[in-house]
Amino acid sequence: MPAWTDHLALASRCRSAQEVLHQNGPHSEWIVAIAFYEALHLVEAVAASDPGFQHDRAVTHMERRELIYQHDRFKAIRLAYKELHRASLIARYMEGGYLATDRFFAAPNLHQLVVVGWLGAVRRWAAAELKLPDIASPAAMAPPKG
């Protein structure tokens, strides 16, 4: 079972992947999907860092959802996490994933809504919970150069 620091490293890789995708053309469906997985690893990092959660094994999306809804510690990110999960489902499974993503989340505002908005909320929360402000630093929130 990965330690909380392993989850942070995976979240960081997700962030790098988003930047690469952003710089190399329109890949909104994958940016959205990877944004969700960054949020997932930040949630896992917080849960794994607290022995009180006994979060010591791999969990399904449904089990993670129960964790988020049954503990007040996750209350602040319920909406953001749900929206990132929903966006990734729409992006990956709906017919014409990239068209669905662009249309539903209004492509020009995608970064603002998904990365700055929802993922930003999860990053700020994780930064506060783990006392690691770099997770939500201004550099991390800026639109990637492209």
Partner: protein, 153 residues
Amino acid sequence: MPTTTKNPFHHLQWDSDGKAVFHTADGDRFVKDVAEVVEIIQAEEAKKAGSSKVQTAVAALFRALDEWIVANRERITAAWLTEHDRALLLLVVQKSDTYDQALSESLVSLDERLALDAEIAPLRVDTLAIPSWGDAPQSTFLSRRLQLRRKLG
């Protein structure tokens, strides 16, 4: 009478009295208690919690879903109870074809109710709102085993 374990369920509709009308793959049509259907779908949870608790949970679940659907009727065009990721799923099709923040916030409130209601606890339930772009997108998320469509009229 068809056996429910062999035939995949197909939907007609669920009613407020807790009955659902089903079509099976071989063309039979029959009425069942929704609680009985959910018990089959969530067999593992039913085994753990016991049949009577599951029936109570299903009744509480449908009350919660009905209240939410009625309150949000102006924002949605369709609602199903289906299954996804070994859990029940309330799948709603939203009226707007772009992001609807009010609907999303309302769904999170429903999620909190579903997660924290002790009566519903034996059931695993998730919710998902998708854009309305014809039938194909919604069929992506509908299980072959359970497709209960809620009357909105």
